[in-house]
Amino acid sequence: MLAALVAATCASLALGAVDIPVSGVIDTLLGKQVPEVTRNIIEILRLPRTVEAILVGAALGVAGACLQGALNNPLASPDVIGVTGGAGFGAMLVILLYPSSIALLPVSALFFGLFAATMVFIIGFTGRGGGNITRVILAGIAVASLFSAGTAAIMAAYPDRVPNGIYFLVGGLTTSGWDTLETVWPYLAVGFVLAAFMIRPLDRLMLGDDVAASLGSRPRLIRLTAALAAAVLASAAASIAGLLAFLGLVIPHLIRLLGGTKSHVFVIPVSALAGAALLTAGDTLARTIAAPVEMPVGPFLVLLGVPLFLWLLRKAA
């Protein structure tokens, strides 16, 4: 998987709408003298975009793995805890209602993604019977529906501005230099660190709540912390690349099927690598296949990931 990520990264840096020789790419990265256009294309466009693809892909892969482990549900993804619905609402709020404040888009998507997840956690984890998986999932579906309805209402009210938001909804990386990453990286860092700390506890949780408790773990706290890590990562990812929740659902399954193990020691780090590799490769394909026209990456991920996933499912069966 590491080799796939390295290959996808090299392709992402070397390929684009403008033909730049590999030597030109390497010279730019090494800080050597190159034409200004070449330097601008590599430094302003391809490098930040490749880094974003790696981080977003890894974040979604890890978020999906954490959620599926925490909720002990193979259908869990950032959609389930309301993050996707919340982030989508936050983004469309800025794009459609306050287009002149477009710079706030990542912040708004991040805020509403986390806000939606917080609502789900409060409903799902507090009070009598808090932490019950079914309750968390149902709360997530309800909150997601609430935000989706809000998004649809704004879109219906401002139809002339909807085209501006389409690319966010279908998911896609855009060129914003390092600006968005400068805002979002602390959240990604917190999410990755939390997820790393959850690897062993999630493995204990796989043995069942009673066994985990007998080993000194606190199942409800593990679930909440792992879901929180997933919410932070998925919200941060959505604020950069729009709604690409498909990655969070499919990648952990793919890794379990490929690796033949459900251990989070394997699933979480390899999901990060696989998510990063798939998104980087998909983005390269999306911006080169019809160049100079750029396609949104969301549909390409589905085209790349679904056949592989179905093949593995059939093979495993």
């Binding site: 403008v18 287009p99 100079p292």
Partner: protein, 301 residues
């Protein structure tokens, strides 16, 4: 006797001549008047901004016009006092309200094709008379004039459009500034292509459109920023979707954009923002629009 009897005849003949002339004049007026009156009585709704402007300039007041979102000052002045209808996807106007108004004709655009079909089912004559290119503006003016019985006025308006266009395109030199026109300010910017309304106007105004040779039926495509850097536009025009009340913030977003900042346009401060729908929607004021583009964006006036 014969002579006496014949004497009044010349008077009668003269009188009958006068009467005949009077009758002919009255008949001529009578033939003219009913069509004009009937036309005045016709309720005509102009959903498309182009048809609305054309109607007013032909001296025919629309019963209702589509909402004037993003209209220029000139267009707003033309349509002042005419009640506007709210338009929304997918039909355009509210079909029940249209049915209640019982218009004879609705001038619409292909954008509202679903609504057009429904209005036709209601027995309303729907005419799509929006020009897709500046070259077809005069043809559409003639069509609207013919439908409204204002052929003469349409000819006059077409002459005026030609005159203004000739005046506005005078003095365009061989050096054409490379111009990127982008639509929208969301997470992605769509470039105006050669076959878009705005793209054609830019070319008529003396600009050379930056498109990376992309093509798309709709006239817009999300082109790679790499192509933007490579083609290095000398002018950038941003057209935000819909209206934008805070152009200074939009301007900040645009000028902060790393890619635009690196181009010749960004470095020479030649990034402009179009605060209305001039580059998006067809209008009869072609000459004024081209002059506006040359003065504010291309700076070749």
């Amino acid at each position: 006797m014969h002579l006496d009897a014949a004497r009044p005849k010349p008077r009668l003949a003269r009188l009958s001549g006068v009467v005949t002339l009077l009758a002919a004049v009255l008949l001529a007026f009578a033939l003219q008047a009913p069509s004009a009156d009937a036309a005045k009585k016709k309720r005509v709704i102009a959903i498309s901004p182009f048809a609305a402007q054309t109607m007013v300039q032909l001296g025919y007041r629309p019963y209702r016009v589509g909402m004037t979102l993003g209209a220029t000052k000139h267009q707003k002045r033309l349509l002042k006092g005419i009640p506007a209808m709210t338009l929304s996807h997918p039909n355009g106007p509210n079909l029940e309200l249209v049915a209640k108004m019982r218009p004879k004709i609705v001038f619409s655009s292909n954008r509202w094709s679903r609504g057009n079909k429904a209005m036709r089912q209601l027995g309303i004559r729907v005419v799509v008379a929006d020009p897709l290119t500046p070259a077809s503006v005069k043809k559409k003016v003639t069509q609207i004039g013919r439908i409204l019985g204002r052929k003469k006025q349409a000819r006059k308006l077409n002459k005026k459009i030609t005159r203004q266009l000739n005046s506005a395109t005078r003095g365009i030199s061989g050096i054409r500034p490379r111009t990127l026109v982008v639509l929208g300010i969301g997470t992605t910017a769509m470039a105006f292509l050669e076959n878009s309304w705005g793209g054609r106007l830019i070319r008529m105004a003396g600009g050379k459109l930056v498109t990376g040779n992309a093509s798309a039926g709709g006239g817009f495509a999300r082109i790679s920023d790499e192509v933007v850097l490579q083609e290095d536009p000398e002018r950038i025009v941003v057209v935000p979707h819909g209206t934008n009340d805070d152009l200074s913030r939009v301007a900040k977003w645009v000028t902060d954009n790393e890619v635009y900042k690196s181009t010749s346009a960004g470095q020479s401060g030649n990034i402009g923002i179009s605060g209305d729908n001039t580059l998006l929607q067809a209008g009869t004021d072609l000459g004024a629009t081209i002059r506006y583009i040359r003065t504010n964006f291309l700076k070749n006036w």
